[in-house]
């Protein structure tokens, strides 16, 4: 199978316009005849549900939470990028595009990224009209802050709760459609299988998490907006219920999984403090605007930070990257933290942390200014660590945060299964091998508000749909598969809890498929994962009922999927022998330890086809052509 990205022709700036013009439309009166199933209610899912509901489609929206507003987009802190150039500092669509392609280490599709940069402008307008309380300046204009990987201020923010406010905007728009009955809401539902009939995605099987009932839902198209797979690593900044299940089951039904090894490790998280920990907490990257990152110059210098004089401190980011300093992209910042900690200069009890120091900023701007900018983040830090960041520097360490990989989609956001569209973090599309800060919110909303309304119409308007009801054999088969898997989990009756097994998987991935990877480690991980998977099915304990709320059963199912998924993640990492973005391969680095890309051999999207749980997935390549941004070794020096 050849992967066709269906990127429209013509010059880059006009591609999206041209594509919209050439796309088929659906007559307003006919739209309600089409049922669109949307799984997930984060930024991508909620925005898609509201925009498609407004257009008049019959939308069914599903989420695993008790309310759509709990989707993990809500936890995004820092902000959302847009090429508004309100600050008159040289920003433009062209520059946002350029920064994003470069930030992604030249592993994204140019046309997608350009479209994203174009649409970024509309997103801000839309969100402000919804009443999103973005920060303002005294004159009433919108305020911006700068973020890693950019030299302009283009990030819009609402305190440290930008994701929350954007999600609530999208959620409220969606609830408006629920009231108008154009969107039907199915909360507490977990999608457990995709139903494919004659090559088209025609429905989903989901479990009602309250009653345990296995439900069948049919439609004309399925939109997966189910987020990323960061919790494969057990400890991550993702919510504890985030999972790969929906995407993985779609993958098993034929959707290719692209670039799973591109995982983003966020540099500013609160360090791990013990084995009891269930998740890691992110401290917004915006902190790096005013905070300075340092470690002691001497190995094993265990003095309290205040007692370490200036000359004994190594502000290593400022030293190594004078032009970007503390604002280097995430992958660079994370890797450097690992390097200094590996050298033995890490701080804190575990030695796995570096300082993020606001001492200078407080001296320069005063505590009040810092409190206005980061007050809630500082409070959060204090709550978790019981330390006061106004007095002593924060300790931070990288943690899994975002996954650039995801189901492969074409320019229309359609996967390799006709009708199955994938939006937001769940797809692989726009961030290449590394995502810049404040770009995830931008992508989720661009996909939902501004891309899918056009590309879905193109699909629905140009496709013949045989009549399919939930009595169809394909629904029965999928439903039986789901039921069988649940029964198998409940009947395992072993001794180990899903959490113990998940934690072991997470440790394995963090050690061997984490910030730095090598051939031997990845090989070892592959062997261990399959052993762990066997152990899971023999020894997992899932007590409790099937016909009732059973969070442990839900969790066990997700861990089981991670144990399958982890293998393709590792296989992808193993095959990509270059370093790029969020994937640092130790065998491929420059003499001064920077990531070394191999454009000659790896300038492609690796899309994996499922061949069976124990069989090696098949690699398909979508070559990447760079017409407008010429790949160069990324330098932030």
């Amino acid at each position: 199978m050849t992967l066709d990205s269906r990127t429209p022709g013509g010059p880059l700036p006009g591609k999206w316009d041209r594509h919209r013009f050439e796309s088929k439309l659906v007559n307003p009166a006919n739209r309600r005849k089409f049922t669109v199933i949307i799984v997930g209610t984060g930024l991508a899912g909620a925005s898609a549900a509201s925009s498609l509901g407004e257009l008049g489609y019959n939308v069914k929206s599903f989420c695993i939470h008790d309310s759509p507003r709990r989707a993990h987009s809500i936890a995004a802190q820092g902000g959302i990028n847009a090429a508004k150039n309100y600050q008159n500092d040289g920003d433009s669509i062209q520059r946002l595009f350029h920064d994003t392609v470069k930030g992604g280490d030249y592993r994204s599709r140019e046309a997608n990224v350009y479209r994203l940069a174009q649409l970024s402008v509309n997103i801000i307008d839309q969100c402000v009209a919804q009443g999103v309380p973005f920060a303002r300046e005294y004159g009433g204009l919108l305020d911006n802050r700068s973020f890693g990987g950019a030299q302009v201020s283009r990030t819009f923010y609402a305190r440290g709760q930008t994701g929350q406010q954007l999600l609530l905007g999208a959620y409220q728009s969606m609830m408006r459609q629920v009231e108008k009955r154009s969107v039907s809401l199915f909360a507490n539902r977990e999608m457990l299988d995709l139903v494919v009939v004659s090559g088209q995605a025609r429905g989903i099987i989901c479990r009602n998490l309250i009653t345990g009932e296995i439900e069948r839902h049919a439609g004309h198209a399925v939109l997966l907006c189910t987020g990323g797979y960061g919790t494969a690593y057990y400890l991550s900044t993702n919510a504890v219920n985030s999972n790969v299940t929906a995407a993985w089951r779609a993958h098993k039904r034929g959707a290719f999984f692209a670039n799973p090894c591109y995982t983003q490790i966020h540099p500013t998280c609160i360090p791990v403090s013990g084995t009891h920990q269930s998740k890691l907490t992110l401290m917004s990257e915006s902190l790096r605007n005013d905070g300075r990152v340092w470690v002691p110059k001497k190995n094993g210098d265990k003095r309290p930070p205040q007692q370490i004089p200036e000359e004994d401190r190594d502000y290593y980011l400022e030293r190594r990257y004078p032009s970007f300093g503390n604002l280097v992209p995430r992958d660079v910042a994370s890797r450097n933290a690992k390097v200094v900690c590996d050298e033995g200069r890490g701080v804190g009890e575990s030695g796995l942390a570096v300082y993020l120091d606001f001492g200078d900023a407080i001296k320069r701007l005063g505590e009040d200014v810092i409190r206005t900018r980061y007050g809630n983040l500082f409070d959060m830090y204090r709550k978790i660590t019981d330390e006061d960041p106004y007095r002593s520097p924060m300790r931070i360490y990288p943690a899994i945060h975002y996954t650039m990989g995801g189901l492969w989609v074409d320019y229309n956001l359609m996967s390799t299964i006709a009708g199955l569209h994938v939006l937001g973090e769940a797809n692989f599309s726009d961030h290449g091998a590394n995502r810049l800060g404040a770009s995830a919110l931008m992508q989720g909303l661009a996909d939902g508000y501004f891309v899918i309304p056009y590309t879905l119409a193109n699909y629905l308007g140009g496709t013949a749909f045989p009549v399919v009801t939930t009595d169809h054999d394909a629904f029965r088969d999928a439903s039986d598969t789901v039921q069988g898997r649940i029964d198998k989990l409940l009947n395992a009756r072993g001794k180990e809890t899903p959490r113990q097994l998940h934690r072991r998987l997470g440790q394995l991935l963090w050690d061997y498929v984490g910030m730095a990877r090598n051939d031997a480690g990845l090989g070892k991980a592959l062997a261990e994962i399959s052993k762990l998977r066997d152990e899971f099915w023999q020894n997992v304990s899932v007590p409790g009922p099937a016909n009732n709320l059973n969070k442990n059963l839900e969790y066990a199912g997700r861990v089981a999927d991670y144990l399958e998924f982890a293998e393709v993640l590792t296989v992808d990492a193993l095959h990509r022998t270059e370093s790029c973005g969020g994937h640092f391969r130790e065998e491929s680095q420059t003499p001064d330890g920077e990531a070394l890309r191999d454009d000659a051999n790896f300038s492609y999207v690796a899309a994996w086809e499922f061949k069976g749980v124990t069989a090696k997935p098949e690699l398909h390549k979508e070559p990447l052509d760079f017409e407008y941004v010429k790949p160069s070794q990324r330098s932030y020096k």
Partner: protein
């Protein structure tokens, strides 16, 4: 640290419930309250017993999924915090803690500490938005909003819909939740168009869901993890007064 828990166990809405005692051993002071519960559940699962059901997701105090009463206080004894952000260092070795779910007619119990808060969604559904479709928005900077105004709106918009306000209120009123959204939108220019229809529709829906009326005591404010003040409720009342008596909605 060793903590004794008395947890409300109830296998379903129609079933009888009771407090069941559990011992949590080897609790570290750095654990969050939910991590301590995870630990208890790990023990239960390993013994083949049904673990304690409780909601949680982001575990950083923003999604609003978690919440139950600890010794009669929603989200426990620490102010401005959800249970996921509450750490065991707030308790002492040997403490006995009673855990109960939110209780309100409008929040039917699902299981153990989990309740159904979909009534909140339906309140938002009634009018907690600006009725604008995607595509027609004008340039964001063409709407000027004062810094103070937007900060005030943000204070209200920070609500996470956890339900602690309802749980704490002796009348099981969702006035604070409803008022926070009404205040957020009524402060901003974008919310003016539907200002008066919004307040009456949301209050009507609030009542239809079976919540009580505001007690004006402010227990809600005291337990709110986002510390949203009851001045929001006063504003809602005023907006309602204007909408009904002066504008005949």
């Amino acid at each position: 640290m060793r903590i004794t828990l008395k947890v409300w166990r109830q296998s379903g809405p129609a079933k009888a419930g009771t407090l069941v005692e559990y011992a949590a051993d080897n609790v570290s002071a750095d654990m969050s309250f939910l991590e301590m519960l995870d630990l208890v559940n790990e023990g239960l699962i390993a013994r083949g017993e049904d673990p304690i059901a409780f909601d949680s997701d982001c575990r950083e105090g923003i999604c609003g999924a978690c919440g139950f009463l600890i010794d009669g206080l929603p989200h426990g004894p620490v102010r401005g915090s959800t249970v996921c952000q509450l750490h065991m260092r707030s308790f002492s070795d040997g403490d006995t803690l009673v855990l109960e779910p939110w209780r309100a007619k409008a929040f039917p119990l699902v299981k153990d500490l989990v309740v159904d808060r979909s009534a909140f969604d339906r309140i938002i559904q009634a009018g907690g938005y600006t009725s604008i479709n995607v595509g027609g928005a004008r340039d964001a900077n063409s709407i000027l909003i004062g810094k103070d105004t937007v900060e005030q709106a943000m204070d209200s918009a920070a609500c996470i819909a956890c339900g602690a306000c309802v749980a704490a209120c002796k009348n099981a009123s969702a006035a604070l939740f409803t008022a926070a959204k009404i205040t957020h939108l009524s402060l901003l220019p974008q919310g003016q168009v539907e200002r008066y229809t919004r307040v009456v529709r949301m209050v009507d829906r609030h009542d239809d869901e079976g919540f009580g009326s505001c007690s004006n005591e402010g227990e809600c404010e005291a337990v709110c993890p986002k510390e949203i003040p009851i001045t929001n409720i006063a504003r809602m009342n005023r907006e309602y007064l204007k909408a009904t008596l002066m504008r005949g909605r």
